[in-house]
Amino acid sequence: MRPLETFAERLGAKIVFNPEFTAEKSQRFYLLNPRLKKLQSNFYYAGLYLGKVKNGVFFPSFNLLNMLLPVAANKVVIDPKAAWLFICGRDVFGSGIVKVMGSKRKGDSSLVLNEYGECLGFGWITSDLGSAERVAVKNVLDVGDFLRRET
């Protein structure tokens, strides 16, 4: 579960998975409850999907981002217009940011939340979060991905 823990650290979170209740299949990671753990054998998908490694890069699932939400230090709350653009795959401009928690340092990762505090995805902090005109958070993953996967 090292890729997951490393990813969490980039968001300023510490998370440890008990290997007893996790499974890896085709470089995809799953969190299993005790009853699922007993049943697992040659499954296609099981329990809570946590993410995958592809070409050496870890891609978190939205389940993992939600698990990290209460413990991640780095979070950016954005306004409704910026939220809509973000789930359409666009980056976040400084003008759309309502609140910043945790790191403001360029290159760090941050969860992106809507006005209700719901996690829409995550991105990289690309520049000074105080500047309204510039891209502040580069979109890496957003929930609109569910729609893009279907096409």
Binding site: N114, V143, G144, E150
Partner: protein, 295 residues
């Protein structure tokens, strides 16, 4: 006689006068993900006009919408699913789902798997099967979108469910079927009785295999969106006569199951099934079966 007229005459003989049906989109609110979110109000704020469907616990009709209901943040965050009204009925007919071992034998693309998980409060275990690997991708996406944690999915034909060596307390058989004309303009021109009979054989094979995986006192809910009795009442008549199952009374909209088809008399308990001719929902058939323990 045209193919369309053939089926219209057939429905007439079964007691239903054909009428064209225009369906409205329906959604089902996911009770776990939408808890405390005031979802109908939030959607209203986006220009989505909802109307509660009286015979469903969490179903709403979309009367009007300024946005695509399949692309809102609320949808993408798993707060609701798009699910036709009649399709929301089968999972709701099981008793006491919490903590149970459940089989969803023909699961993809997963609308009913999500509903089962919601009704189970993400407890117990759902074993979800589907023969089509591509459709399993859609199922996996929905499970992730709705944060489902109690499911295990296999790329297995339901006719081989026994290979898992498991007994199930509840089995959902939303079997592959011929469908119906509601919402499909081309249905009459694509379907023949040969298709119907072929599907009925596959459905019987699924019933036989999965019934062997049912625990004593276990329940099966069988459903199709076919209006053809070969896939509905005739299969239920066959199941009670050959698989040691009994049909249960259900609280559900629709008319009684047919007990006479083309002059052939069926078991009287087949009347306990429910047949939904296309009207406020698409065409649908549903039946609950139980295996009583041997004395």
């Amino acid at each position: 006689m045209s193919q369309k007229q053939f089926f219209i005459d057939r429905y007439s003989k079964l007691g239903w006068a054909f009428k064209e049906t225009k369906l409205k989109q329906s959604i089902r609110i996911n009770q776990i993900d939408a808890k405390g979110k005031k979802l109908p109000e939030r959607l209203r704020g986006l220009g989505v006009e909802l109307e509660k469907i009286p015979f469903l616990a969490a179903g709403y009709r979309v009367n009007k919408s300024k946005v695509s209901v399949g692309a809102t943040a609320e949808y993408l965050l798993g707060m609701y699913s798009i699910q036709e009204a009649a399709a929301q009925i089968p999972a709701s007919l099981f008793t006491a789902l919490g903590g149970k071992m459940v089989l969803d034998a023909c699961a993809a693309p997963g609308g009913k798997t999500l509903q089962l998980s919601d009704l189970m409060g993400n407890s117990g275990v759902i074993t979800a099967l589907d023969i089509n690997k591509q459709r399993l991708n859609a199922l996996a996406n929905h499970l992730e979108r709705c944060h489902i944690s109690n499911s295990i999915v296999y790329n297995i034909d339901a006719r081989q469910a026994g290979m898992l060596n498991r007994k199930f307390d509840r089995i959902l058989l939303d079997v592959p079927c011929s469908g119906n004309f509601a919402g499909d303009d081309q249905w009459f021109y694509r379907r023949t009785l040969d298709d119907v009979e072929r599907n009925a054989e596959v459905q019987k094979a699924i019933l036989k295999e999965t019934a062997s995986c049912l625990s004593d006192n276990g329940e099966i809910v069988y459903s199709t969106c076919s209006l053809e009795p070969e896939e509905d009442e005739l299969n239920m008549d066959w199941a009670i006569k050959n698989l040691g199952l009994q049909i249960q009374k259900i609280d559900c909209i629709g008319s009684s199951g047919l007990t006479e088809v083309s002059g052939r008399k069926l078991d009287a308990t087949v009347a306990l099934c429910r047949r939904l001719w296309p009207d406020v929902t698409q065409g649908f058939f549903v039946c609950k079966l139980k295996r009583e323990p041997k004395q």
